[in-house]
């Protein structure tokens, strides 16, 4: 039951060692930097130190309550990340797969639209545009509310 924000790369296998032992169902998701058809070299991710950690912890705890999770893990990087590098991961452990899958999706939807991270695209010519929030992400989040 932990959230972490860091600049350093992480090893998914090492992060998951012993995770969810005895739970029955473990789901993990990790997001990698896309090259967007060769347009991107890297992403630069800015965040709000202090708020980020609190927000991730709060979303994790809410997911644990809502889906009765045995365990959860959120890891999100910031700084400059080259194409192909892992950006973030979530892991959820529950008695059965339905809750584990749903909780992972729930956490992803919150991370996309409500965790204080901002991505900027870095191309061959240097720093480019800030990534804009997508309406679909907002819609995905809305399905959990109310």
């Amino acid at each position: 039951m932990a959230a972490r924000v860091q600049a350093e790369p992480f090893d998914i296998a090492a992060e998951l060692a012993g995770f969810g032992a005895g739970a029955g169902a473990v789901v993990t998701f990790s997001g990698l930097v896309r090259d967007e058809g060769g347009r991107l070299l890297a992403l630069e991710i800015e965040h709000y130190p202090g708020m980020t950690e609190k927000a991730l912890q709060a979303y994790g705890e809410e997911a644990a309550r809502r889906f009765d999770l045995a365990d959860w893990r959120i890891l999100h990087r910031h700084g400059r990340l080259a194409v192909g590098e892992p950006i973030m991961m979530v892991a959820t452990a529950a008695r059965h797969r339905g809750a584990a899958f749903a909780a992972a999706e729930y956490l992803m939807d919150w991370l996309k639209s409500r965790a204080p991270f901002w991505k900027r695209e870095i191309g061959p010519d240097g720093a480019g545009a800030w990534v804009e929030a997508r309406d679909e992400d907002e819609k995905s989040l809305a399905r959990w509310q109310g």
Partner: protein, 83 residues
């Protein structure tokens, strides 16, 4: 009251600094926005389109009408793009 104002992503670039300490008597975020936008052209540019701006008061997401009584830190930033 003294208040730390933080800026992130393209709002930070428009304002030209990541944080500043100000003195304000603003009662709500909306009043603070009006004060900040009146400071200079850079602040005005950052806050020109409030539909594209999100706010956190003391590191919790907040609405424009949120009260500022007792607040120590207000952050302005674009819609978040994590994950």
């Amino acid at each position: 009251m003294p208040l730390d104002v933080l800026w992130f992503a393209w709002l930070r670039e428009r304002v030209g600094q990541p944080r500043e300490r100000i003195e304000t008597e603003a009662a709500t975020v909306r009043e603070l926005v009006a004060e900040l936008a009146a400071m200079d052209q850079w602040h005005a540019a950052a806050l020109a389109d409030l539909a594209a701006v999100r706010v956190a008061v003391d590191q919790e997401l907040a609405e424009l009408d949120a009260p500022l009584a007792g607040a120590r830190e207000v952050a302005f930033f674009p819609p978040m793009t994590g994950g």
